[in-house]
């Protein structure tokens, strides 16, 4: 169940296992025997999780750098399976993303995070905005975007 939740959020398979393992190793390394483990605070576990997570990210960067060539080949091969549909979707997405880039800065970042799937309260927290300000910027940003896309003949409907 946990893994399915992780996948839904876009976390790669094994990320959570890797994180837990990293925390475990840190606790064992620093705490040693069970007696010392009694002194472990929840905040220490949090710090261990933090350093484990950043280590995973660093390690992944290294692996990706060395594997980038094969990844690129795979993706290029995949795009040839349904070239017409994929090309059209890709072009549409590129036009939308290009229009997003033309939005006013505050609306742009709000819309990008909104379209990336972040919830309003997450956006507010990440940007240090109030809920009202966030709602306003997402709403107005999406109106701007729809207007621009309509002008391009993409005519999206629906609300934010």
């Amino acid at each position: 169940m946990v893994m399915s939740i992780g996948r839904r959020a876009g976390l790669a398979d094994g990320d959570l296992d890797e994180l837990i393992q990293g925390v475990r190793l840190r606790l064992w390394r620093t705490q040693g025997d069970d007696a010392r483990a009694e002194t472990v605070s929840a905040s220490y576990v949090h710090q261990a999780a933090r350093s484990a997570a950043i280590d995973i990210v660093r390690a992944r960067r290294t692996v990706l750098a060395s594997a980038s060539e094969s990844i690129h080949d795979t993706i290029i091969a995949d795009t040839t399976s349904q070239p017409d549909v994929q090309l059209e979707e890709r072009e549409t997405a590129d036009r939308i993303m290009a229009e997003v880039e033309t939005l006013a800065p505050d609306r742009r970042v709000a819309v990008k995070l909104h379209l990336a799937g972040y919830q309003r309260e997450e956006i507010a927290s990440l940007l240090g905005w109030s809920d009202v300000r966030t709602r306003n910027l997402v709403h107005r940003g999406m109106i701007d975007l729809r207007t621009r896309l309509a002008a391009l003949g993409l005519a999206p409907s629906g609300g934010s």
Binding site: V2, I5, G6, R8, A9, G10, L11, D15, L16, L19, I20, V23, R24, L27, W28, T30, Q31, D34, R36, A37, E38, T39, S41, A42, S43, Y44, V45, Q47, A48, A49, R50, A52, A53, I54, V57, R58, R61, L64, S68, I75, T79, R90, T92, A93, I96, M97, V109, H114, L115, A116, G117, Y118, Q119, L126, L127, G128, W129, L149, P156, G158
Partner: protein, 198 residues
């Protein structure tokens, strides 16, 4: 085409772009935004990148998952499942090492970009648990405890933000932390008093 359709279209595009990652922010920058969101211009640029880069999004969500495990953290802005996931992870870890969470938890403020903020020390089994707030882009921390005469009583180097000292005797103990940053700069805390172990 509603918002969800727009999301799916863009997500599909982003997921299928071969990513060289040459323009991606360093892991420490993602960590800074995940753990110390400030909403300044630099962090906003990072967030805009995260929103349109699948690998960075995955890394950022992983870091946010770790952040959500923070004890006593303010109400999480993450989706409802992430705190639950983090809590589940925490429980697994906790059960594996059989620790009892008896310490009172004190969370530091967001001091990224400034000096190191020391948190109140707590008694450990033998010594004292010293904690401080993380500093953005810090690669290591040096902790020093000095006695009333200024002599070094204890020192440690760590990548974490917690150390447990051995038993420390004497009066007038003080401690400080020095953060060494990725760019070679150093940030220091104030010198604070330290209670003796016993």
């Amino acid at each position: 085409m509603d918002d969800n359709a727009l999301r799916q279209l863009i997500r599909s595009r982003i997921d299928n772009v071969p990513e060289s990652r040459t323009d991606c922010p360093p892991p420490e920058a993602l960590e800074s935004v995940a753990f110390s969101p400030r909403g300044d211009a630099a962090q906003r640029a990072i967030l805009e990148h995260v929103a349109t880069c699948a690998p960075c999004r995955g890394e950022f969500d992983l870091l946010r998952t770790a952040q959500a495990a923070a004890p006593g953290a303010r109400r999480s802005p993450l989706p409802r499942w992430i705190p639950a996931l983090a809590a589940a992870s925490l429980i697994v870890v906790v059960s594996l090492v059989a620790f009892r969470d008896t310490d009172s938890v004190v969370r530091g403020g967001d001091n990224a970009g400034s000096g190191v903020e020391l948190l109140p020390p707590t008694r450990a089994t033998d010594g004292v648990t010293l904690r401080w707030s993380a500093v953005a882009q810090a690669v290591s921390y040096r902790v020093e405890v000095t006695d009333g005469d200024g002599n070094l009583a204890f020192s440690a180097e760590t990548a974490d933000t917690v150390v447990i000292t051995p038993s420390l005797q004497g009066e007038g103990l003080r401690w400080a932390v020095e953060a060494r940053l990725l760019d070679g700069l150093v940030r220091t805390s104030k010198l604070d008093t330290l209670p003796t172990s016993r």
